[in-house]
């Protein structure tokens, strides 16, 4: 079977699928692709089940040499990728010949680019998933980010699967734009003063350099607590916007701690989590508060669009 040799790994490249549910009770968060929409689309473009293991590149991409012919797709952010020097565009399947070299560059916009390959990356499942959990050191390729010299085997394709021929880039990017991130109220939303919430929502927030798959720290207008109760530690999940005593919010992301003791002002809606996966340091964006009904409607529209792809 074909293989992919990692010549250069890029800033942080990991094997990801759609994550590892069912482990929160042991303190292990689901992990999985930071931009699950791009991972799903990449897999559909190469005829894989949506959950197949792909490579997630962050801010700057890697250099990969293919051993054996492969069908690949690049999705998510445009990393100015080139295959043997020729432009390798995102959002279309690309036939790669044995010996060809894919060189992904620095991001032009957004934070993450996905490389999917027909068959998927062949890694043993850890508790049911191939996704790398960096803190736990589990899943993916030896539980860690890729290094130069790693060789990733490509799996034997499973039964024929839905195969999308192309994704209109503009349509896909509409779901990944990072100017507005929609949120619903969090469990402690009423702990914050109405005035400070209003100012917080009016003023753009900026992503700080403390940026990881676990948490995204923000510079934003200070959210003022009106309640000073000691909070008992409780469960937290992906997209929670929690406010530590500094008043500067943190978005807990795909590989977060599973419990926390800071009040949670809001939670990013599921349909906008892929946008969070495309936020990079110094990006500015606004939060928009929506109802649970709106959150459900947006997700329905997103799924309808994915289902309509041919």
């Amino acid at each position: 079977m074909p293989a992919i040799r990692v010549v250069e790994p890029g800033f942080q490249t990991t094997v990801q699928d759609l994550g590892r549910p069912g482990c929160a009770h042991m303190g292990v968060s689901p992990s999985g692709a930071a931009d699950a929409l791009s991972l799903r689309l990449g897999n559909l473009l190469v005829g894989n089940p949506e959950n197949s293991a792909s490579l997630e590149m962050t801010l700057s991409g890697g250099v990969f040499e293919f051993e054996g012919d492969c069908l690949i797709a690049l999705t998510g952010s445009d990393f100015a990728s080139r295959l043997d020097g020729m432009p390798a565009p995102n959002w279309v399947p690309i036939a790669v010949k044995s010996g060809q070299v894919l060189r992904c560059g620095k991001t032009r916009a957004g934070a993450r680019c996905y490389l999917s390959v027909h068959g998927g990356i062949d890694e043993p499942l850890a508790l049911g998933s191939a996704s790398t959990h960096l803190l736990a050191g589990m899943g993916g390729h030896e539980g860690r980010a890729l290094r130069a010299g790693d060789v990733l085997r490509v799996a034997v394709p499973a039964a024929p699967s839905r195969h999308v021929k192309q994704v209109h880039p503009q349509r896909a990017l509409r779901w990944l734009a990072t100017d507005v991130i929609r949120i619903t109220p969090g469990p402690q939303a009423h702990w914050f003063s109405a005035d400070s919430v209003e100012r917080f929502l009016e003023t753009p927030a900026m992503v700080l350099e403390e940026f990881s798959r676990a948490a995204i720290h923000l510079a934003a207008r200070r959210l003022e607590l009106v309640r000073r109760d000691e909070m008992l530690i409780e469960g937290v999940c992906c997209g929670a916007v929690q406010v530590p005593p500094t008043g500067r919010p943190v978005i807990l992301f795909v590989e977060p701690q599973t419990t926390g003791n800071f009040p949670k002002f809001a939670n990013v809606i599921t349909a906008d989590l892929p946008r969070v996966g495309q936020l990079k340091p110094f990006d500015k964006f606004r939060f928009e508060l929506v109802s649970f009904d709106e959150a459900r409607e947006v997700l329905r529209q997103q799924e309808e669009w994915i289902d309509s792809l041919e």
Binding site: A24, H25, M26, E234, N267, R296
Partner: protein, 236 residues
């Protein structure tokens, strides 16, 4: 979405996001509320819902996350509400007892002597008190395999470090407030360190990566540095 049927104080079911619901079962850290949390998780495990992705027990609540493409807040809310009605009928399996060797003091427990001084006892007395209590794993959280152990003797309660250590070696045992804990992996942390265990608390290569499970009883027993080395080699 508030459960009308639950007039009992302290019970609440409310959305935490478009893909999670927080079930509050009390407002304090107590054995009674911990038992409720365990019973509720036991009910969840015995009555699986296809859309439920994760269950996060904590001191007095359970966060339930679900796949919002498979079910909505109303459906999961009704499911949780129906389970909550049956919480009293649950019989919990007996808790396991896990014995954890600890090499106290020295380089492994840099804060041991200070806690002893604060508590006006000798370091030996502190070790005796820490290793003679029986603790309960109230839940796991913060980091993979990290257990919140409740039951620290009031004589050795010590405040959390104001400035967390940037990296604590795996296996380190510490105290903060009424809680004691074992760091499963090298992470930052603010527990005051009193020793280290040679056991692998979290090992992703095991079928069950986490040594401790929610509800377990835990006892610590002191071992010498020599014994620590021998056990470290055995657990590799």
């Amino acid at each position: 979405m508030h459960a009308a049927a639950h007039v009992r104080t302290g019970f609440d079911i409310a959305p935490a996001s478009d893909h999670s619901i927080l079930v509050t079962l009390g407002a304090e850290i107590s054995p009674e509320i911990h038992t409720r949390v365990r019973k509720f998780c036991e009910l969840l495990a015995r009555n699986l819902h296809d859309a439920v992705m994760n269950v996060h027990p904590a001191y007095a609540s359970v966060l339930v996350t679900f796949e919002p493409r498979m079910a909505d807040l109303e459906e999961i809310g009704a499911y949780l509400d129906a389970l909550l009605e049956r919480i009293e009928e649950v019989e919990l399996p007996p808790a396991r007892l896990i014995e954890v060797p600890v090499c106290y003091g020295g380089e492994f427990g840099p804060d041991l002597e200070e806690i002893a001084r604060r508590s006006n006892i000798t370091p030996e007395e502190l070790i005796r008190l820490h290793s003679s209590s029986e603790y309960t794993v109230y839940f796991l959280g913060f980091a993979p395999g990290f257990a919140y152990l409740v039951g620290v003797d009031p004589r050795i309660v010590a405040p959390r470090l104001e400035k967390p250590r940037p990296e604590i070696p795996a296996g380190s045992v510490g105290i903060a407030g009424a809680q004691t804990g074992i760091y499963p992996l090298p992470t930052p942390g603010s527990l005051r360190l009193i020793g280290r265990t040679p056991l692998r608390i979290f090992d992703p290569k095991r079928t069950k990566p986490s040594l401790l499970t929610f509800g377990d009883r835990v006892r610590f027993f002191p071992v010498s540095p020599e014994e620590f080395e021998i056990q470290c080699r055995q657990s590799e």
